[in-house]
């Protein structure tokens, strides 16, 4: 997190309502709830998020959580933005401090002119900080006094106390309690009992603060109509659903943050969505002993003809290296979701990064280049979830989907997913009848000139169907060879296949281009940097800057990216890693224009802010 000296002044008030002489700030601020890990604050935070969404206010929720299980501080940020900006901001205007640990730091970081709501319980759970700032509005909240009498079960009291700040906030910024109740009903899937017990605490807190607080801050929410038709979801759930609608029928995985919730979502939704007419599962999910085995299992399944996938993150990708190379050369389809995070090992496993670009692209040994899809949103997680399955079988190769912690684990507004518009693409598979007609086949022969051979699946009953699969040293007929020309020919065919993939991806995952007439400056980026770039461009445009933007959706890089670069004088490649990895790939892709491409990267474990993007571009 940035320090207090870097914060932006609060947004200019634009509307009429005033409190204590200050112009009201409506639907344009961030809230950060600082709670204890494992205290059940998720219900409280998601209720606030969902309430804003139900009021029609554009909103985004981000969980910033250290790698702990219980007791330590965790932060949840909710941004309401009338302009529809959903990037992280440098500082929150409203700080809700429920955890004494680190509270002073949270206090200091609150945006100028902001709000500090803090737990005052008269015991060791009380937030005690030096409240020296005259610019803040301070509101004490006796959460235990309000919530504990309403919760008979002592074990549930910590959960209830977090609902107290929801009630307090509803009074302070004007969230209709009927909306809160509707949000709770959503959260508890319509179950009355928890809705009522939580609403009792919300109401108690509302009543208490209405009698004990005097509003001295300008922050308010008002109903809008900007979320009509949209949904709120996290990227990992979207990715899992994309895979399910893409026909995945075998999943092997090993727990790892931030990819676990993708496998969890598969486990949640497959039983609902995927039964055969006689009620049997049309899928299998296996939690493997490690990521090595997960890779082996999905490759075994891909070899047998299933649509297979795994979800993992950096350390798991490292373990899958040998198997990825194997599947690349043996030409076996499978899909690997890499929900990227900081690496390696432990320390920052719950922080975001785009540090696996080069690794995933080149994963393997002995000249491998892998197809990578690069979603930037919840919507694209769904889209690439099903497309990845098609691409893997079409090109008979491992396909990576590089999402990240920010997209994957946070709650985003999204337009509803579009049902896949094309039928399942199963690739070149020969049946018994095909073999009878053809009188045989050669597994690795380039019959069609696109570098993609025809394969048969184990269990094919035709006497000519069988072949022997190996990593290296095979010729066209999949026979063992150590003859150099045969292997060279195979490598050349793989290159042709890769170029076919480049052409295909340029169609189904084409770069998203927004070319501005007369712009000399341009941005190239990919993935979860998109919201910060969108906000920065919007703000810079208002200031008169002209900046074009191209967002990459797949590797290998589309050739049209060269045309885009050619049209601009300076192209800033924005990414969240230290070595400017995408920049390196772009320079290799267009060496003659390499000097036009500039590194514009940050690797600090946090989602980019629009302010950083603007400053980074303007300072070049």
């Amino acid at each position: 997190m940035s320090t207090v000296t870097e914060v932006t002044p609060p947004a200019q008030a634009e509307t009429s309502g005033t409190e204590a002489g200050r112009a009201a700030i409506i639907n344009d601020f961030s809230i950060v709830a600082c709670t204890k890990n494992g205290s059940g604050s998720q219900t409280a935070n998601l209720t606030i998020l969902r309430s804003f969404f139900k009021m029609g206010i554009p909103v985004v929720g981000k969980n910033l959580f250290p790698s702990n299980i219980q007791g330590r501080p965790t932060w949840y940020t909710i941004r309401a933005s009338k302009d529809g900006y959903v990037a992280r901001t440098d500082a929150a205007e409203i700080t809700i401090s429920m955890n004494p640990e680190g509270a002073q730091d949270d206090y200091n970081k609150t945006a100028p002119g902001g709000v500090f709501i803090y737990s005052e319980t008269g015991d060791r759970d009380s937030v005690k900080v030096d409240m020296h700032r005259k610019d803040l509005s301070h509101y004490p909240l006796p959460v235990k006094k309000i919530a504990d009498p309403l919760e008979k079960d002592a074990k549930l009291r910590t959960y209830g106390r977090n609902m107290a700040y929801v009630g307090a906030l509803s009074w302070l910024i004007g969230i209709d309690r009927a909306v809160i109740e509707a949000a709770l009903r959503y959260h508890f899937k319509g179950k009355d009992k928890p809705v009522q017990s939580n609403m009792a605490i919300v109401n108690a807190a509302y009543n208490w603060v209405s009698q004990n607080w005097t509003k001295t801050d300008p922050f308010q929410v008002e109903k809008m109509n900007a979320t009509e038709g949209l949904i709120v979801l996290d990227g990992n759930t979207a990715g899992a659903l994309g895979a399910i609608y893409g026909g995945v029928n075998f999943v092997a995985w090993y727990p790892i943050t931030p990819a676990t919730s993708l496998a969890d979502a598969l486990g949640d939704y497959l039983p609902i969505l995927r039964k055969s007419p006689d009620g049997k599962p049309t899928y299998s999910v296996i939690q493997s002993e490690d990521e090595l085995a997960a890779a082996g299992m999905i490759i075994g399944a891909g070899w047998a003809g299933a649509r297979s996938m795994t979800s993992t993150s950096g350390p798991g990708i490292s373990l899958m290296s040998e198997f990825t190379g194997y599947a690349y050369f043996a030409e076996i389809p499978c899909v690997i979701w890499d929900v990227t995070r900081m690496g390696p090992s432990t320390g920052l496993p719950t922080r975001v990064s785009q540090g696996d670009v080069l690794k995933a692209y080149y994963l393997g040994h002995g000249d491998t280049k892998n197809i990578c899809l690069l979603p930037s949103s919840v919507y694209e997680c769904f889209e690439m979830g099903w497309k990845a399955q098609d691409v893997a079988e079409k090109f008979q190769t491992p396909v990576f989907v590089l999402s990240d912690l920010d997209i994957g684990m946070n709650n985003w507004m999204s337009k509803p997913f579009d049902y896949p518009e094309t039928p399942l693409e199963r690739g070149k598979v020969l049946t018994e009848a095909d073999l009878e007609r053809l009188k045989g086949f050669a597994r690795y022969r380039d019959v069609d000139g696109d570098g993609i051979g025809y394969r048969t699946l184990p269990g094919n009953k035709h006497p000519f169907s069988a072949y022997f699969t190996r990593g290296s040293g095979h010729n066209e007929t999949a026979s063992l060879t150590e003859k150099s020309p045969e292997w060279v020919a195979n490598m050349n065919r793989l290159s042709r296949k890769f170029e076919s993939a480049r052409t295909h991806l340029a169609e189904i995952c084409a770069p998203v281009v927004d070319e501005v007439e007369g712009a000399e400056i341009a941005i190239i980026s990919f993935g979860s940097t998109d919201p910060a770039i969108a906000e920065a461009r919007s703000r810079l445009t208002k200031e008169g800057y002209k900046i074009s933007y191209l967002r990459i959706k797949a590797l290998p890089l589309a050739n049209e990216i060269k045309d885009f670069v050619a049209k601009h004088k300076h192209v800033h490649v924005i990414e969240m890693n230290h070595d400017a990895q995408m920049l390196q790939l772009l320079r290799l892709h267009m060496p003659d224009m390499a000097t036009k491409l500039h590194a514009c990267n940050l690797c600090d474990g946090l989602p980019l802010t629009a302010k950083w993007v603007s400053q980074a571009i303007l300072s070049k």
Binding site: G229, V232, L233, L241, I244, Y245, G246, G247, N249, F250, A252, L273, R274, S276, K280, P281, T282, Y283, S284, I286, S288, E289, D290, L292, A293, A295, G296, M297, I299, G300, A301, G302, W303, A304, G305, A306, R307, S308, E322, F323, Y326, A330, P416, F417, Y419, P420, L424, T456, L457, P458, G459, N460, K461, P463, S465, A466, Y467, F468, T469, L480
Partner: protein, 370 residues
């Protein structure tokens, strides 16, 4: 478990039941074809590139015999291996079967993915002591824990051959090799490890004992889950000194058969000639095949897990080379059964229309997130 439908009529002749203690029935003239109409050469593989006299080649020959005699459809069998001399051998038998030569120590995970998504295939995996006991030890143990239905052969020679003579995890403690020097560590007992991991079929044999290997392979084929065959298979180039417990000399002079058994596959009726009341115990496999154990001739009861563990421990302690069926439990469900994917249509062949849920189902989900 699913067995393939025979494509030729089942012969009524009594099966050749190997039983080392009884005179074998007079063998009828070798039939030209087996019960599915294939000749023995239909089970052949490529010419071996292993050293002359390698134990592994004998095992390949026994696989060909066993699968031919059982009438296994080669098109529904998949051959798998890891890396090493042993792992080259799937190319040397059953060319009409799909084969996959995977990564060092990683055959179990590939097998799991392939056989869970197509449970109608029969898997036969060939590994070695390095491939299973060292680099692949974790995957081996987890394969057994999951009870994936497949035959898992460890061609155990106590040495790394392809990399020219390093010690493996099953090398004898105190063994001395020309380049590797002296091995100070305890060998891993693959059978003991299998039993304690929950494996329901554990056998040890010697590549020089063709008859025993063939009948164990047939029994392994009938097993519901993972069937482990730890077959001592001498390396003539690097580890065939007479004092090595993995040498031909040692095998021939120390082979101690712990039980006598016959096998009646499920496509044959068991007859009165197959077993002797009061003397034999019958273990019925999940597919209906029967193992006929002679209770009198040997003391070990392979259905007793504690006895099996004790036998392995004692044999290691006393340097006894025990062969035969060490442990059998035909009742544990296989992975495909546990995962409920043992339906008529294997996962890998489910039609597209069942793989993509309806648009209405997506609309319903979306309405719920609004």
């Amino acid at each position: 478990m699913t067995t393939e439908t025979p494509t030729a009529s089942v012969p009524t002749a009594k099966a050749n039941i190997p039983n080392i203690n009884r005179p074998l029935p007079v063998k009828p003239a070798a039939p030209a074809v087996n019960r599915i109409g294939l000749a023995k050469p239909d089970y052949n593989g490529n010419e071996s590139t292993l050293c002359n006299g390698c134990g592994h080649d004998s095992i390949s020959a026994q696989i060909i015999s066993a699968m031919y005699e059982l009438g296994v459809n080669p098109n529904t069998m998949i051959k798998l291996s890891g890396i090493g001399c042993s792992s080259k051998s799937p190319a040397y038998f059953m060319n009409r079967s799909f084969g996959i030569n995977t990564l060092h120590g990683r055959m179990p995970s590939i097998a799991t993915g392939a056989l869970i998504t197509n449970h109608t295939l029969q898997g036969i995996g060939v590994s070695g002591d390095g491939d299973t006991g060292s680099i692949g030890f974790g995957q081996y143990k987890h394969l057994l824990r999951r009870n994936l239905r497949m035959i898992y052969i460890i061609e155990n020679n106590g040495v790394y051959g392809l990399t020219k003579g390093q010690f493996s995890a099953t090398s004898d403690q105190g063994a001395v090799l020309r380049h590797a020097g002296r091995n100070d560590y305890m060998p891993i007992d693959m059978c003991l490890e299998a039993i304690i991991s929950g494996c329901g079929f554990v056998a040890r044999s010697f590549s020089g004992n063709a008859k025993q290997v063939v009948s164990l392979l047939k029994m392994a084929y009938a097993h519901r889950g993972t069937a482990v065959l730890d077959i001592i298979s001498p390396c003539v180039t690097f580890n065939n000194k007479e004092d090595s417990t993995k040498s031909y000399d040692w095998g021939r002079t120390h082979d101690e058969r712990i039980n006598d058994f016959g096998f009646v596959p499920n496509f044959e009726e068991i007859t009165i000639d197959d077993f002797q009341e009061n003397e034999d115990k019958i273990v019925t496999m999940h597919d209906g095949s029967k193992i006929v154990l002679n209770k009198v001739s040997a003391g070990h009861d392979p259905t007793d897990v504690n006895a099996a563990i004790r036998l392995c421990m004692d044999a290691r302690e006393q340097k006894r080379f025990i062969t035969g069926l060490i442990y059998v439990n035909p009742n544990s469900p296989s992975l495909a059964e546990l995962e409920e994917v043992n339906n008529d249509v294997p996962l890998a062949h489910i039609p597209n229309e069942q793989l993509r849920p309806s648009k209405a189902s997506l609309d319903k989900l979306i309405a719920g997130w609004k």
